[in-house]
Structure formats: structure tokens, C-alpha cells
């Protein structure tokens, strides 16, 4: 009685494309922070250039979704998968942009000695990358429980961001000459914290996909 094998294969292939885009985004974030820590300006340039690929991939996958909607006229969970994918693409693309912002700050700071060793910002990056990876796994496996658990990790990013903010404030109050660099670091922390919010959106879409219900984490 089984039919629509072709369509099921297309939906699986779509998930693979989303995972591939997710891998690019994770790498961009990891490399942006690595460039910052290692003061590697070439790596920062590669992150900035690589964003074009992420943007193109977003549009390609979007077109795939649109064509599947037009040709296959999906309903129920098939339709929810396509709608959720379109939303997830937007969040992934935004995370890619955060990586570019980080790489640009790295270039702006290039040549300056850092006012303090970078500890919390690389930790935030590791947490954010892990969240992106696990959130996309939950998404393609349509696993709402896993999604809920990943979204819970956003609290760690929020806490680290608050900690970085407090610490930078003390440095800047002590020495106004550090304000310029301090503000740049503050933005870095803020973008990594925002990454967690985008991942949380992906987790919410996963619950929608699996259950048809909208939740807010």
C-alpha cells in the first residue's frame, strides 16, 4: 500500500541539505571565534567570504521547499516540515551573520593587545556550536523532547553573557581607555548570546513540526 516514496526521499534529501547548511554555520562560528583568539586575520577573511555560500545555500533550500510545495501539494506533517524548514533557514542564516560580525570585530581589533585573556567568549562559542548541532539533529529526527532539552541550554549562554558584561564593566570603569575595546567585546558576547536565541527558535519549530503546536521556550 506504500506510495509517495519519491516524495519521502525528497523530504529526506531536504533534511540532509539543512544539516549541511548547519555544518557550514557551525564552522563559521567556530572559525570566527578561533580567528579572534588566535589573531588569525586570514581565517577571519575566510569566514567573511564563506558567508556567501551560506546565503546561497539558504536560497537554494528555500527554492527546494517552494518547488516541493508547488509540485507535491503537501498536507499535515509534510507541510509542517516544509514550513518549519523555511523558518529554520532564516535562523541559520542569521547565525551565519553573527559569525561574520565576530570576524569583522576581530579585524577591527587586529594589532591591538587584548585587555584580558579571552575565556568566557570561547566557552560561549563552544556551547552555541553544540546547541546548533543538537538542535538540527532534533529537527531532522522530529524529536520534540530533544529540542526542549537543547533549548534549556540557552540559560548557560545567558548566564555567561551576564558574567562577561559584569566583568567588562569593571575593566571599563577602572580604565576609560579600555572602553573602546570593551564595547567590542561586549558585542561579541551579545552576538553569541543571540545565537542561542536563534537556536531556541529552531527548537520551537521542531516542536511545531512534530506536534502541530506552537510553543515558546
Amino acid at each position: 500500500m506504500y506510495s509517495r516514496q519519491h516524495f519521502d526521499e525528497a523530504l529526506d534529501a531536504l533534511n540532509q541539505e539543512v544539516l549541511t547548511m548547519g555544518t557550514l554555520v557551525e564552522e563559521a562560528l567556530r572559525n570566527a571565534v578561533k580567528a579572534l583568539v588566535d589573531k588569525d586575520i586570514d581565517l577571519a577573511d575566510r569566514v567573511i567570504q564563506g558567508d556567501t555560500d551560506i546565503d546561497r545555500q539558504q536560497l537554494d533550500i528555500e527554492d527546494t521547499c517552494t518547488v516541493l510545495i508547488a509540485k507535491e501539494q503537501p498536507v499535515a506533517s509534510d507541510l509542517r516540515q516544509l514550513v518549519a524548514t523555511l523558518n529554520v533557514l532564516g535562523d541559520l542564516e542569521r547565525i551565519g551573520d553573527q559569525a561574520v560580525h565576530i570576524a569583522e570585530v576581530m579585524k577591527r581589533l587586529y594589532g591591538e593587545p587584548y585587555m584580558k585573556p579571552l575565556i568566557d567568549i570561547p566557552r560561549m562559542a563552544v556551547i552555541a556550536e553544540g546547541m546548533i548541532h543538537d538542535a538540527l539533529t532534533a529537527f531532522v529526527e522530529q524529536d520534540p523532547e530533544a529540542a526542549r532539552s537543547v533549548a534549556g541550554r540557552d540559560d548557560q549562554l545567558d548566564a555567561l553573557h551576564a558574567q562577561v558584561l559584569r566583568e567588562l564593566l569593571t575593566y571599563m570603569m577602572e580604565d576609560p581607555a579600555k572602553i573602546s575595546q570593551g564595547i567590542n567585546f561586549l558585542f561579541l558576547s551579545r552576538w553569541l548570546e543571540r545565537t542561542g536565541d536563534h537556536v531556541t527558535n529552531i527548537c520551537e519549530r521542531t516542536v511545531f513540526l512534530a506536534t502541530g503546536k506552537h510553543v515558546t521556550f
Partner: protein
């Protein structure tokens, strides 16, 4: 579900063709002035079900029915004059079946049988029915030409006009567009939107997109059982039953 008075209440309905049970314990309410779609694979009982609503199954031998079919609160299998019932509950079939007479006579036939003889009254009925079926403009200059000269889509709208001419309350449609091209199909669908203001409509369709487009409520039949019944939006967005999901998304049937 939005509150609407119910037009039909069907309770514990079983229907047998000889030893073969075609409907099993069907219980549902059809709301007034709404379009209810009946979907399901061939042989699932949806056409049998729609035919119980105006007792078309009476014409078939060895049919046995138990349970209640209440139309406006009255059990149509106990207390109803069948002729009156079928006047109140009209039916449009899969294949357009105009009578081999003129367009005018096709429409006037029913009202005449029900005793209307005044020429001006019949003229008005013919015009109003053809207008309500969105056919008037295409045929007003050839009312006395043979109905069989019309295109398939026009013939089907003529059949709808013929139903409307006896001033029914409910219109049953058994796959009304399955023999029509896409343009004719979409005209019938637009017509359904208009008709539901005045009538209660129940439509059997094999076309999922059509059920999604035209109906307010959908019932999914499988092997004579109503698997799921509810708002069309809910059925097509997030059905409760995995068999409903499999059927509407084309995984079986």
C-alpha cells in the same frame, strides 16, 4: 468546532448489503449551512453513507440499515415521506445526467412534478435556478435547445440548477467534478461557496485538495468506519489519527 445547528444527526448507523457490512457504527453530526466533505479510499463507504441521507439505498435490494438518521430531528427511516425527503435533499452525481430534453425542460421538470403549472412561475424558477448555478449567462439565449448539447461542465451546473429548482434544503454531491476539466471544476467549487450561504452541502470527493479547498468539515472513512471527523483545517494541518495523515498525504489509498 464552531457552533452551528446540526442538520443531520447520525447515530450508531450500520448498513449491510446482504452479509457485507458497508457502514459500521457511524455517528456524526452534519452542521447546517456548512460544506461537509467525505473522503476515503474507494469502497470505504462514503458514497453508501451519502446515499443513506436521502434514502437512495432504498432502491437497492438486500440493504439493511440499523441506527438513526435524524434530519432536523426526525428519523427519515421511520417518519418520512420519501418523495418529500428527496425534494428537501437533492443530489448531484459524478457524471452529469441531464434529461434528453431542452435546458428549460430539465429545470422545469421537477417543479412541474411537484405541482407548479404557472408559466410565469416556471420561467422565474428556471431563470433563478440557472443564475444560482452560475449558468444563466451562458444559456439564456438557448433555453429551448437540447441540454445534451452543453459541455460537460455546463451539464453538471445544469444538474445543480435542476436540484435547486425544487428548492431543496440540503444538496448532496457525489464526486461532482470527477468527470470535469480543471476550469469546470473550479467553477463548481466557486459555486459551492455561493450555495452554502443558502444550503447545507455534503460532498464526496477523491480529490484531497478539493476537500481542503471547499469544505468546512471533513469526515475520513475507512472500511465503513469514520476514522476521524472534524474541522477541515485541523484534518489537513494536524490530523489526530495516523491513518488519516497517511491517507490525506497520499501514503495509501
Amino acid at each position: 468546532m464552531e457552533e452551528q445547528p446540526s442538520k443531520f444527526r447520525i447515530k450508531d448507523l450500520d448498513l449491510f448489503y446482504g452479509d457485507n457490512q458497508a457502514l459500521k457504527d457511524v455517528t456524526l453530526e452534519v452542521r447546517s449551512h456548512r460544506v461537509t466533505a467525505l473522503i476515503g479510499p474507494s469502497g470505504c463507504g462514503k458514497s453508501t453513507f451519502i446515499r443513506t441521507l436521502n434514502r437512495m439505498n432504498d432502491l437497492i435490494d438486500h440493504v439493511r440499515i440499523t441506527g438513526d438518521v435524524l434530519y432536523e430531528g426526525v428519523n427519515i427511516y421511520a417518519d418520512y415521506d420519501v418523495i418529500e425527503l428527496r425534494k428537501r435533499i437533492g443530489m448531484v452525481f459524478q457524471k452529469p445526467n441531464p434529461f434528453p430534453m431542452s435546458i428549460y425542460e430539465n429545470i422545469a421538470y421537477g417543479p412541474k412534478i411537484h405541482g407548479i403549472t404557472s408559466k410565469s412561475l416556471l420561467d422565474d424558477l428556471v431563470e433563478n435556478s440557472l443564475k444560482a448555478a452560475a449558468l444563466w449567462e451562458e444559456v439564456s439565449d438557448r433555453l429551448h435547445k437540447p441540454a445534451l448539447g452543453l459541455s460537460g461542465g455546463q451539464q453538471q451546473r445544469l444538474c445543480i440548477a435542476r436540484v435547486l429548482a425544487v428548492e431543496p434544503d440540503v444538496v448532496l454531491m457525489d464526486e461532482p467534478t470527477s468527470a470535469l476539466d480543471p476550469i469546470s471544476t473550479s467553477r463548481i467549487e466557486e459555486l459551492i461557496f455561493e450555495l452554502k450561504k443558502k444550503y447545507t452541502i455534503i460532498i464526496v470527493t477523491h480529490n484531497m485538495q478539493q476537500a481542503g479547498r471547499v469544505s468546512d468539515t471533513t469526515a475520513f472513512f475507512l472500511n465503513g468506519v469514520v476514522v476521524e471527523y472534524g474541522d477541515t483545517e485541523k484534518i489537513f494541518f494536524n490530523p489526530e489519527d495516523s491513518r488519516t495523515e497517511a491517507y490525506i498525504s497520499g501514503r495509501f489509498g
